[in-house]
């Protein structure tokens, strides 16, 4: 019991430190400003074009934006600590690797959640001027949040592989792009390979959420993806030969 509480405290301590370090870095503010302004532009464009009270296409834009900015957000999580040597500090305090990984993940996830919360203004506007499909917006937000959470897990994993932030960012771009765009290659595959790619691709899952569909398959997809990446991250930081 005391042990469990101790671990939770450490996870929160690390998450707090991560969140604070995001706010101390100009990169995070840049991401915040750019994404919100891009969302604004698209919001009015899409609204003007579609003339419907839904965020469905907005979610597509968000999804696409997150593919670009999440690797930048997460690239430093482990790479910077390895580069400056603070990793040696973390790993020689009585803190388990699991707590370190979860703390770091939570810190980035909180920052990302703040960005998502900032976009809820759009919902308020739509609600103000019309009567949107609330269920679809809610599941859409859940979907976009899960997708971001998945990308962050990927970014943290690649950051644990190297001490160079740029290498971490490029590696996570490669993986996130593959996961996001893989459905475009589907016509070259058949049978099991085809359905596998359809499963792996985030777009197919996100579509359901944006349409107001909440299925167990989609939830399992994101949660298992996140879990897989975090477990791999733990293995990667435990394996000190990867320096």
């Amino acid at each position: 019991m005391g042990m469990k509480r101790g671990i939770m405290r450490k996870i929160f301590a690390i998450a707090k430190k991560e969140l604070a370090s995001h706010f101390k870095s100009p990169v995070a503010y840049l991401i915040l400003v750019i994404t919100i302004s891009v969302f604004n532009v698209f919001f009015f464009m899409i609204l003007d074009e579609n003339r419907e009270a839904s965020l469905r296409d907005i979610f597509k834009v968000m999804e696409f934006m997150f593919v670009f900015f999440i690797p930048i957000l997460t690239m430093k999580t482990f790479a910077e600590e390895k580069f400056t040597g603070t990793m040696e500090f973390l790993m020689t305090t009585p803190t388990s690797s699991t707590a370190i990984v979860l703390g770091k993940y939570l810190g980035s996830l909180l920052f990302f959640t703040l960005i998502i919360l900032a976009t809820s203004v759009y919902y308020v506007m739509i609600e103000f001027f019309s009567s949107p499909d609330r269920a679809a917006i809610l599941t859409g937000y859940l979907g976009i949040w899960l997708e971001g959470a998945f990308f962050i897990a990927i970014g943290i994993l690649t950051s644990s592989w190297t001490r160079h932030q740029v290498v971490a960012a490029i590696s996570s771009y490669v993986i996130v792009f593959l996961v996001y765009f893989s459905v475009s290659f589907i016509k070259y595959f058949q049978g099991t390979a085809e359905s596998l790619i359809r499963y792996v691709c985030t777009m197919t899952h996100m579509e359901n959420f944006a349409a107001g569909l909440l299925t167990v398959t989609d939830l399992v997809y994101y949660l298992s993806g996140i879990l897989f990446c975090l477990v791999c991250t733990r293995i990667s930081i435990e394996n000190r030969l990867w320096h």
């Binding site: 870095s25 305090t93 000190r240």
Partner: protein, 321 residues
């Protein structure tokens, strides 16, 4: 406190540590001495559970490092070669963060942080951002972090490297002030530092322990050139042809080195002379028409011992000259 048995560490095919065994008793202050790349840092990383050994066992406070690493980390304070600091935090924020990770109970965190801030002379700077601090300050913050949880074993990797003389003195004084309660391991390639701070020294070269003894023993031990005798440096003015047989003829005196420049001679002697004084020497020199300009007793320096043990004799000569 520490028992290392046949510790070996490979990086790929490269052996960084070869079959190292040693023991450290509680309360001892021990220095790891070796050139850069000798394996000091790797050995420390194995002791702090940061790196697993490829083979062999390490026990700290009776616990196996590979099995009970979290418990050991609670008892060990570690300062890596580059102090592991977060540049964007203030000193106090950093130490608070460290206190949380080091399992210091919530209520005691503040007093612990305040104590090390005072002990390490950081109180005035406590709200400064770490990135803006000088190297000496950063090093002291690193030490503060290492002693924060009052560890039984303190491991300091090159605690004074890269500091200016005033800062070195500060850090040395700080380490000295800690020693009475704790077992301390420190590494350095600066010999005088070991001489001043440690009681015992492990000389490490290419991943092997070349010598393990107290500083005293090392200075008169097999590595030193003078057996039981004293080494004396003499500067004499006179004619060499007269002086050499006169001085060399004194029983209990051995000429080790003779360097002449015009009529001035620099002579290294080894004296096992029973009386232990210089009366006979002075007399003989005067009788040979010489004049003693200087007599100086020299101890074998740790530097020479170190270089001799690590088999670098050429350097040892040039450093003496």
């Amino acid at each position: 406190m520490i028992r290392a048995q046949n510790v070996t560490k490979y990086f790929g095919g490269f052996p960084a540590l070869k079959n190292i065994s040693f023991e450290v008793a509680k309360g001892e202050i021990i220095g790891f001495l070796g050139q850069n790349g000798a394996g000091k840092t790797t050995l420390m990383r194995v002791l702090t559970t940061y790196l697993p050994a490829s083979a062999g066992k390490v026990y700290i406070a009776g616990m196996d490092v590979s099995r009970r690493s979290l418990e050991i980390r609670r008892r060990v304070g570690y300062l890596p070669e580059n102090p592991p600091l977060y540049g964007n935090m203030t000193i106090r924020e950093y130490l608070k963060f460290a206190a949380r990770l080091k399992d210091i109970p919530h209520r005691q965190q503040r007093p612990h942080v305040e104590r090390v801030l005072k002990d390490c002379d950081l109180w005035e700077a406590r709200d400064k951002v770490i990135a803006t601090l000088s190297k000496g300050y950063k090093q002291r913050v690193g030490i503060a972090q290492a002693i924060l949880h009052e560890p039984e074993l303190l491991i300091l990797d090159e605690p004074t490297s890269g500091l200016d003389p005033a800062q070195i003195l500060q850090v040395r004084r700080l380490i000295k002030s800690l020693e009475y309660r704790r077992t301390v391991i420190l590494s350095t390639h600066i010999l005088s530092e070991i001489e001043q701070m440690a009681q015992r020294v492990l000389i490490i070269k290419s991943g092997e322990i070349l010598a393990d003894s107290s500083i005293e023993n090392l200075l008169k031990g097999p590595g030193g050139t003078s057996e039981d005798g004293r080494r004396v440096c003499l500067r004499v003015q006179g004619v060499r042809l007269d002086l050499e047989p006169a001085i060399g003829g004194i029983p209990g005196i051995k000429l080790a080195r003779w360097a002449s420049e015009n009529n001035t001679h620099g002579i290294d002697l080894e004296m096992t002379h029973p009386s232990g004084d210089f009366n006979e020497l002075a007399e003989k020199v005067a009788r040979a028409g010489g004049r003693i300009l200087e007599i100086k007793e020299s101890k074998v320096s740790l530097e020479e011992v170190f270089l001799q043990i690590s088999g670098n004799k050429d350097l040892s000569h040039s450093s003496r000259a």
